[in-house]
Symmetry: C2
Subunit: 364 residues, 2 copies
């Protein structure tokens, strides 16, 4: 089946669409990426979503958002339909609020999109897991298991704003899979780039590479309580906020020292915290397969590999073959699972009482 | 198939559940009511919904409402499952905003409810019609057509806050069906009962029956522009507001005249406006089949029959056999249509570009 997965993340930078060919292959699932494209949101859609997440939206804005997204998604899929015979669409939707284990809110009308495209649309992936007491997240591990599990111990790493890992023990069934956030991914590296040099990010880690780690700063960062906490755990911009980064940088950036050192220290923190969690919870890992925007930072990747070696891990850091498309591919796969009547959540990962078929299917 | 339809209206008075047995019968559908029960909302659910519709809800409240409703609905269905082998559930959800033809918002997580019950759940019935340029309403006409159409011309009348009619010409295909609001149903009768006597409603129309119509008042009411407007049209409490009722009553209720006359006049307005629309748009109607709370007002029913006779209509006013359960039954039927892959909207009624399969199906 040719199914398109659509991911729209909290950064609002683009609508990511991955067209995947997914087939049964014995008792496994063969998932191949056929096309990956990014499309813009309509300006008005972004304005309404920004208002919503900052608790400034009117009821009419909130009513409009799921339909505005359906129209934006429909434009993207129509463009891909010119060259690909897409048979179904799976959409993550736009997270407007997340209140696990009580509720979660991914806006987007699957029914409206199905009517616009005359294709089946799967949506609302997090609700059923939350209804069964889970966190509704992470959901990508089932895709990691289907695509990356092997006869060695593997860790799937995603470095977005936050960094998270999926631990895939060799030959394990899904009940042995664990997944959690290791801490900040790019969020504080980007914050430091803005605060020190006014850059939106440190391209390829070049600035961090030019500095050295500020030892006292790094020591304090390592003592932040999130790192010592025992999984399952998750974090976000509430904890690793720009305000907190600014406070720490103001305290530790000595006026006579190069500002590059601040970026070196923040980059070191992300690399260390990932390696530290792998060392503590998956010491026999042979391969760390990295995806997300962070993989474009070659200095970060080098520091991660160095930290693994320092603690005696034999893990080799590799870049995921579809590092950009992975999340959209994961939702294509989750949608395919729903259409096949297969569960998409992993209770050991989300904390839900049971594995269930996720989401709802519209066939307008 | 035994399918439960759940209707939760804007009055927030109860969760109405109709368990229906629906079968194919030749090229028609046989729909029978097996059980009808009403259940309370949780207090907290009502508080959050009231906050939402008055534009006072927090994002967290709005995130919680679809899950709170799923839990309330699950309790109701579990109670009915003790005695009925319900195979699927169809839910209207709670309308929080309606902005056709741009968007509409019926809160309730079908996926969460499906996970709680381990049953298929159909939800989100209005989205696809709105996405295709329709009003997303009314949706009951397809149920009226399936249950009430005959070899005579029939009108299905529902008297809730507003009154609406579905015109079902004899032997007609669905493209000949029309449906629209005729104006106020109980809304201004109830308002008058509150304003004059402090009663929440005029039980059985006893107070109106004791008065006479105030001619000048009635003349002005008949001239309200909504009545002359050409269908399709719809109205609501924005037009027929309590404030406007109060303004008119203050002007026309003479201090020396009995206050009963105010109720007589308002009751006359509802009866006249229904009969007037039937006379203008369905003059060959043989039967008006009435449902909704208004059918409990026997004086209103008598005045409606009298107005029909006055304008030479041969229409006989009958009470629908399931006057209370009708809306919940309609959503059971709409859900069944979705599960069968059959369209639920009627473009001549809603204004949508096409008939489509409505809603989304969760099978957790």
């Amino acid at each position: 089946m040719l199914i398109a997965g659509i991911m729209t993340g909290t950064s609002l930078d683009a609508i990511d669409v991955a067209v995947c060919d997914i087939q049964h292959k014995g008792d496994r699932h063969a998932i191949s990426l056929v096309a990956f494209s990014t499309y813009p949101y309509a300006d008005d859609t972004i304005a309404k979503i920004r208002a919503a997440v900052s608790e400034q939206a009117s009821m009419q804005d909130l009513c409009d958002i799921p339909f505005a997204l359906a129209h934006d998604y429909a434009s993207a899929i129509r463009d891909l339909l010119v060259t690909h015979a897409i048979e179904a669409v799976a959409i993550h939707g736009q997270t407007l609020w997340h209140h696990p284990p009580v509720s979660t809110w991914q806006a987007a009308s699957g029914s409206a999109l199905s009517a616009l495209l005359s294709l089946p649309v799967v949506s609302g992936f997090r609700d059923a897991d939350v209804a069964l007491g889970g966190q509704g997240a992470p959901l990508v591990p089932v895709f990691d298991a289907a695509t990356l599990a092997s006869d060695h111990d593997v860790v799937a790493l995603n470095i977005g704003g936050m960094a998270n890992i999926t631990i895939l023990p060799s030959g394990a069934d899904s009940t042995a899979i664990r997944a959690f956030d290791t801490g900040p991914g790019n969020v504080w590296i980007d914050a430091a780039a803005r605060i020190t040099f006014g850059m939106s990010y440190d391209a390829n880690g070049a600035t961090a590479r030019a500095g050295v780690v500020i030892r006292s700063f790094f020591d304090e960062l390592q003592r932040l309580p999130y790192f010592a906490a025992v999984p399952p755990k998750s974090t976000g911009r509430e904890v690793f906020s720009e305000a907190e980064a600014r406070r720490l940088i103001t305290r530790y950036a000595h006026p006579s020292a190069p500002l590059e050192d601040v970026l070196s220290t923040m980059t070191e923190l992300t690399a260390w915290s990932i390696a530290d969690h792998v060392s503590r919870y998956a010491p026999s890992t042979t391969t760390i397969i990295a995806s997300g925007g962070g993989v474009k930072n070659s200095f970060l990747m080098e520091r991660l590999q160095a930290h693994c070696a320092e603690r005696g891990l034999s893990a080799v850091v590799q870049i995921h073959p579809h590092a950009d498309a992975k999340e959209a591919m994961a939702f294509a796969y989750l949608g395919w699972c729903t259409l096949q009547g297969l569960p998409g959540n992993i209770p050991s990962v989300t904390g839900a009482r049971a594995a269930v078929v996720l989401g709802t299917v519209a066939r307008a």
